[in-house]
């Protein structure tokens, strides 16, 4: 009896329950008329009771009272001699009517109690879920705040320290020390910038304010722009990206999807030794574009394959390499495109990140030019 109560199936509108009740009693009567040669009067009564059960469980108390009354009247009018009058020849039928009406009342009382219990249970569940959500949000907010304040204060602390040392200790610093402090300021400011950018991006993603502006783009351009922007940070790591020339154009937001490759490559630059190669490959499989980015670093911590995409997850606890937002942003963006992203450690070592993007729609054609001789 739980179906029809679930939130996915809306309850009947209040006004429509009464006409529906009349219709059900009429249907029971029609069935009775149709089958009257095969059924004894007690069977007909059962038919009406079935209708009352249905009305009571689905429509509630008022309609079930109506159903009980209508059923008695209809039974009398159509099936109790003399037919087609409300007069009763055999007085024993009065007892049948009373029993029938009584059973109807009882059924409707029971059914309305069942309905009430179900409703209350549903409300309790909703309240519990809301409380749990509040607790989780609160927990996330406080962990977010502590992570944010740590990630903001650390580089700021280094910058303040280096800058005040330069200001106060101008006479005592040798050129190498000065250069070191200046380099610290530049590096930490850059780190702070990356963190703020990621934090803003994450906030936009979570606020659902992300607008996916799809355009038809070759994958090569997205990978290429990420590689160009990261040239310095990749520190000479060889990147092999043998992308097939016949890959279809994909319909994605070029800025957002470019950011995904940027973050994945930046992640590789963070977690793999300098000069260790990175490979990017792509293929069409099962109506999707599958892009894989593989590095030759230490791979992922066992069991962390799904966790790495969580906000503020860091491979090394207390590690200062990143704020743990880059991969979370990747997942948010890929999901906003209807795709999936996963990570695994390969048996031969190193991590592979796999993006699967559904290929939807047909890429527009581009008028071709004849190739010059």
């Amino acid at each position: 009896m739980t179906d029809g109560m679930g939130p996915e199936r809306p309850e009947w509108a209040a006004w429509s329950r009464y006409p529906a009740t009349v219709a059900l009693v009429a249907a029971a009567t029609a069935a009775g008329v149709f089958l009257r040669g095969h059924l004894a009067p007690p069977d007909l009564v059962m038919l009406y009771l079935l209708g009352i059960v249905v009305v009571a469980t689905r429509f509630g108390r008022g309609p079930s009272l109506l159903a009980s009354a209508l059923s008695v009247l209809a039974f009398d009018y159509f099936f109790v001699p003399p037919f087609h009058t409300f007069a009763v020849a055999d007085e024993r039928y009065l007892l049948t009517f009373a029993t029938m009406f009584g059973a109807g009342l009882l059924i409707s009382a029971l059914a309305s109690r069942v309905r009430r219990h179900q409703r209350e249970a549903g409300e309790r569940e909703q309240r519990a879920a809301a409380a749990e959500l509040r607790a989780r949000t609160e927990e996330m907010r406080s962990s977010l705040l502590s992570a944010v304040s740590h990630d903001l204060r650390t580089p700021l602390g280094a910058i303040t320290g280096a800058a005040t040392t330069l200001r106060e200790g101008d006479g005592e610093l040798d050129p190498a020390q000065r250069a070191d402090l200046v380099e610290t300021i530049c590096e930490e400011a850059e780190r702070l910038e990356r963190f703020v950018v990621n934090l803003l991006e994450m906030t936009r993603l979570e606020a659902g304010a992300l607008e996916v502006k799809r355009e038809w783009v070759p994958l090569e351009e997205l990978v290429g722009s990420a590689l160009t922007r990261l040239e310095e940070r990749l520190e000479g790591r060889p990147v092999h990206a043998p992308l097939p020339a016949d890959l279809p154009l994909i319909s994605v937001d070029p800025v957002l999807m470019g950011q995904v490759f940027y973050n994945l490559l930046e992640n590789a630059a963070k977690h793999t030794p300098p000069s260790s190669p990175v490979e990017i490959s792509a293929r069409v499989a099962g109506g999707s574009l599958v892009v894989e980015l593989s590095d030759h670093g230490p791979g992922l911590p066992a069991g962390a394959e799904a966790l790495v995409f969580d906000k503020f997850y860091r491979a090394a606890p207390g590690g200062t390499r990143g704020a743990g937002l880059g991969l979370a942003i990747c997942r948010g963006i890929v999901q906003a495109h209807g795709g999936t992203i996963s990570a695994e450690t390969r048996p031969q070592g190193g991590a592979t990140f796999r993006i699967t993007l559904p290929l939807t729609g047909e890429a527009p054609s581009v008028p071709a030019e004849p190739e010059p001789a």
Partner: protein, 237 residues
């Protein structure tokens, strides 16, 4: 005494940014005049006739976009837009409004100087006769003979690829928006056809880049357009 350097007009409302710009520009031989708002900026642009304008988009007394359009309406000096807004749509709007380049805060001094040098060079080229031979890195474009060579080897380009490459190369170091390129190469009726441009850029990269997935010359500015990378000017901070 060397000759005084080019005059830079800085229109920026934040004093810290003006301090940084003044210090770094004067130490690199530029002369600097400063305005903290749009009105003062317009007045100084008229009275001092600067060679280049650095314009902050977030001014208190006017919309920087509108000011870009206004300045562009009567002045030909390059305008480099500086903005704390990192949104691509803003960059595109500023460039289409007539800015020559943009820098998103924070930026380093090397990047700033590189952009200024590129903008000044293009302004100079625009005043003088257009060069018929351009050499940028391994690439040599002979516009008179319609000949393009890469490391001395002749390249066979289709007419559209040739137009695309010469357009980007003649603006080397400067970003061109999708709309600007489409308008120049395909014509005003095709400015929304960004996939044409992307497909032809991919073809061109296959012809002139060693590794088309890791372009050295034809850089993508995500969401904005393309920039022919000028190796003479360092891109790093």
């Amino acid at each position: 005494m060397s000759a005084p350097g080019p005059l830079v007009l800085v229109i920026e409302d934040e004093p810290q940014m003006r301090r940084f710009l003044r210090a770094s520009l004067t130490s690199h031989g530029f002369q600097v005049v400063e305005a903290s708002g749009a009105k003062e900026g317009t007045a100084l642009a008229t009275s001092h006739n600067p060679e280049i304008v650095l314009l902050d988009l977030g001014l208190p007394d006017a919309d920087g976009m509108a000011l870009t359009r206004e300045l562009r309406g009567w002045a030909r000096m390059p305008i480099i837009v500086i903005s704390a807004r990192g949104r691509e749509a803003d960059k595109v709007e500023a460039l289409d409004a007539g800015a020559d380049d943009y820098l998103t805060k924070p930026f380093g001094v090397n990047e700033l100087l590189a952009r200024i040098r590129v903008a000044l060079r293009h302004a100079q080229q625009a005043r003088g006769a257009t060069e018929t031979v351009m050499e940028i890195g391994p690439l040599r474009l002979d516009l008179g003979r319609r000949e393009v060579t890469l490391d001395g080897r002749e390249l066979h380009l289709t007419p559209i690829e040739y137009r695309l490459l010469t357009l980007l190369a003649s603006h080397a170091g400067k970003v061109l928006t999708h709309r600007q390129i489409l308008n120049e190469v395909w014509g005003p009726g095709h400015t929304e056809q960004t996939h044409y441009l992307r497909v032809y850029m991919a073809q061109l990269r296959r012809k002139i880049e060693q590794d088309p997935a890791r372009p050295r010359l034809l850089a993508t500015e995500p969401g904005v357009g393309y920039r022919f990378r000028d190796r003479i000017d360092p891109e790093r901070r």
